[in-house]
């Protein structure tokens, strides 16, 4: 092999000595030598960043992921771990490593607006990376490590400034939002000039194969050929990803996906307990009346009212009120009956359980805003401190609520999986006050606490009211098939193979379109057995 020699240096050196140009001070000459000695990469492999981050403990899969992304993927990778396994940690470690090796000086980190401050905080606090959140009038050129939302970055005049910059490192969080190659966001990202590139996503393959193609094409254009050829050859069938060995190999060259089953995270176990609630006589009567009165309504509306009543009087009352006075005397009577209910059995059970848990932090998830507000009031009556949390909160408010929960309140009452990315590892009791009908959403909720950094076993409580629609859903979706324990890691894969885009809608339509509970049960069982069968096939292949 040829050795490239440094022929220019001796000549320059000689010239420097002969002419009268100032030569280096001895101390500075030594410092240049020491700096270089510190900067070299003495081994082909291994992360030097680990030695510079003594305060952080990494899980084995996080170190392996960073090594693979750098060593075998050349710093261009899709990080597609399941929720809660520490993708941020992996990405931070990779960025840190490149910065230490002197390979990254200029980086752009594009994340959802709600996560900007969290990214900045984690990079600074954990990795001592001086990331800065974009603020009005900041100069894109001046700041080395900039964190911004993609929506800000793609807007003029930022867009043009950014596209002029040669980035050493580009990171995109929640990259599944880029799946469509015809969007402005996708086009913008393709145009960015970058050396290393990480795309982070928890659900890389939720939908179609062509979306994988689009993500891969950001990292390595042409790696999967061109769009036309690819769609002609593979269409949209996700199953081709398993069938075609070459395609699989290609995708694995750019994508790393750790699952909870494979990782050391299993040490913090999940303990799931179902908590049954019995309605009071008055409540049960109202529920039956509602069932009867709503029989003539479209099935979907009927089911929604029933689910709401199981959650709180308030949730149901508010939505029934919108229908009041429309000539349906039965409905109006039910509305009055609900308005007169003295309390709610579920809320009482909640207070009882929280008191039993004692001093520890508890997260309560509900499906309804009205329930959230009611519970906050109700818990206060019971001497229990709580803070609300909604996906719609601005980033700053989310941070503030998280901090309040951590330092001051015992309970956090959240409506939706509290958005992506909020980390609540300091808490290990989670109450599903209402169960979502999509087990994936349940997984996202659990992922907020059962994630990297959780040191305790996670206790999860499913609330379900007997003899109501909740019992049906509970026994079908959660107890019988144990979806969340058995196939959750593969569920998104399976659903897309079955071309089911939303499990929640599927379940809703089965229940609402069935004439009887019996029929719904049979249809749901069919759905479940199809999913189970796919899971088994997947496992056999693996």
């Amino acid at each position: 092999m040829e050795i490239h020699k440094d022929t220019a240096f001796p000549l320059q050196f000689q010239e420097a000595l002969e002419t009268e140009q100032p030569l280096s001070d001895w101390t500075l000459f030594q410092l240049a030598y020491e700096a270089q000695r510190e900067s070299i990469s003495p081994f082909f492999k291994g992360l030097r960043a680990l030695g510079h981050l003594p305060a952080l403990t990494f899980l084995p899969h996080q170190i392996e992921t960073a090594e693979r992304a750098i060593e075998t993927m050349g710093g261009r990778a899709i990080l597609a771990d399941e929720v809660g396994l520490g993708k941020t940690i992996e990405a931070g470690l990779i960025l840190k490593e490149y910065m230490i090796r002197g390979l990254v000086k200029k980086a752009l980190i594009l994340v959802p607006a709600s996560l900007v401050s969290q990214w900045v905080r984690e990079l600074n606090e954990k990795f001592h990376i001086p990331a800065i959140a974009y603020r009005k009038n900041y100069d894109w050129n001046q700041i080395s490590i900039m964190v911004s939302s993609i929506d800000t970055a793609k807007r003029p005049p930022h867009r043009d400034r950014i596209l002029e910059i040669d980035y050493d490192f580009l990171l995109i969080d929640e990259a599944h939002k880029l799946k469509n190659h015809q969007t402005k966001n996708y086009e913008f990202v393709r145009l960015l000039k970058k050396t290393y590139c990480l795309l982070l996503t928890a659900t890389p393959i939720q939908n179609q194969l062509i979306e994988i193609f689009n993500l891969v094409s950001i990292l390595r254009p042409g790696h999967l050929g061109n769009y036309e050829d690819f769609s002609r050859r593979f269409g949209n069938k996700r199953s081709r990803l398993r069938e075609d060995a070459v395609l699989k190999q290609l995708v694995q060259k750019v994508m790393i996906r750790n699952t909870r089953n494979e990782t050391a995270l299993n040490t913090a176990a999940r303990k799931i307990e179902t908590v049954w609630i019995d309605f009071s006589e008055a409540e049960m009567d109202a529920y039956r009346q509602l069932e009867l009165a709503a029989a003539s309504l479209p099935p979907f509306a009927r089911i929604t009212y029933l689910r709401e009543l199981c959650s709180s009087r308030e949730a149901c009352y508010l939505s029934l009120q919108k229908q009041a006075g429309k000539g349906n005397a039965e409905m109006d009577a039910v509305l009055a009956q609900i308005g007169n209910l003295p309390g709610h059995a579920k809320a009482e059970k909640l207070a009882e359980l929280i008191k039993k848990i004692g001093d520890e932090k508890v997260i309560v998830f509900t499906e309804y805003r009205a329930t959230q507000i009611y519970l906050q009031w109700f818990l206060k009556q019971q001497g229990i401190t709580s803070v609300p949390f909604r996906g719609g909160f601005k980033a700053g408010k989310k941070d503030w609520m998280r901090q309040l929960f951590k330092d001051k309140a015992q309970v956090l009452i959240a409506t939706e999986a509290a958005g992506e990315g909020i980390n609540l590892q300091f808490c290990h009791h989670l109450i599903n006050y209402d169960l979502p009908w999509n087990p994936m959403r349940l997984e996202q909720r659990i992922g907020r606490v059962h994630r990297y950094g959780q040191e305790n076993d996670v206790k999860i409580y499913h609330f379900s009211t007997r003899h109501t629609i909740e019992e049906q859903v509970m026994s079908l979706l959660y107890e019988k098939i144990n979806l969340f324990e058995k196939v959750i890691g593969q569920l998104d894969d399976i659903l897309s193979e079955l071309e089911i885009s939303s499990l929640e809608k599927e379940i809703e339509s089965i229940i609402s379109e069935s004439a009887s509970t019996g029929e719904a049960r049979i249809k749901l069982e069919n759905l479940v057995s199809v999913i189970e069968q796919s899971a088994e096939e997947d496992q056999k292949e693996a």
Partner: protein, 253 residues
């Protein structure tokens, strides 16, 4: 490497006033360093054009990660340190130093060439080695870890009284060649299985790529193959960071 001490030496060598302790450094920059580190060319341009004397900034650099408080955190991999490293790398390439010798009689000092050279092995992965080689330009004697040997010696950029320099017998150019030869023979003795590995990986990449391209797209495929070759093709290069001519007393050996 003691970062705090490193920075202290750097700023002091640049004639800045430095205070603080072993956890935080406060430094009053000189105009030169302000121009290098603070990235405000317009300010200095403006000062110059109006004939005013600009006011250099001060910096507080926190070197202890545990310390909380006002200031910029600096550590390995931080942009500020990278900036300082590149400043050193660009500016401190050549030196000439004379050992300080106190003598009442006429004393010869002998020329040594010290070259700090990096070997870069590049393929699938990157590995670097860094050598400091010394060469006596009179008798051809060679030393490894030259910088280590020079470290305890007191130097001045001017020759000491009563000392006189011996003229080199070996020319600088052939001196560099001798050092290069030494490094090449060192490289040849190394295990080079990494190069074979890189070639294998390169071929695998290329064959995967071919699977995905139709015959009518030869041109874009060729370009992809070229890119892959650029990234994977094994190569070895020598790169000199800096070098100096050192006049040493006869007992240096």
């Amino acid at each position: 490497m003691d970062l705090n001490l490193f920075l202290r030496r750097y700023f002091e060598a640049h004639k800045c006033r430095v205070s603080g302790d072993d956890r935080i450094i406060q430094v009053e920059l000189t105009e030169t360093l302000d121009r290098v580190l603070m990235n405000r060319p317009f300010y200095w341009q403006y000062m110059k054009s109006t004939g005013m004397k600009g006011q250099p900034l001060s910096l507080s650099l926190i070197t202890d990660p545990q310390l909380s408080g006002e200031g910029e955190r600096i550590h390995f991999g931080s942009p500020r340190l990278q900036q300082i490293f590149s400043h050193l790398q660009e500016n401190e390439q050549y030196t000439r130093q004379y050992e300080i010798i106190q003598s009442s009689i006429s004393t010869p000092v002998y020329p040594w060439l010290a070259a700090n050279v990096k070997i870069i092995y590049r393929g699938l992965h990157l590995r670097e080695e860094f050598f400091s080689i010394g060469l006596n330009l009179v008798n051809g004697q060679m030393k490894t870890d030259m910088m280590g040997l020079l470290k305890p010696v007191p130097f001045s950029h001017a020759i000491s009284d009563q000392c006189y320099p011996i003229s080199p017998v070996i020319k600088l150019e052939s001196g560099f060649q001798r050092i290069e030869k030494l490094l090449v023979s060192y490289i040849e003795k190394q295990d080079h299985s990494w190069a074979a590995q890189s070639l294998r990986a390169m071929e695998e990449e290329i064959s995967l790529l071919k699977h995905f391209y139709d015959s009518h797209e030869l041109e874009s495929m060729e370009k992809e193959i070229e890119d892959i070759s650029m990234r994977f093709k094994p190569s070895i290069a020598l790169s000199t960071l800096n070098a100096g001519l050192f006049y040493m007393g006869s007992d240096f050996a």
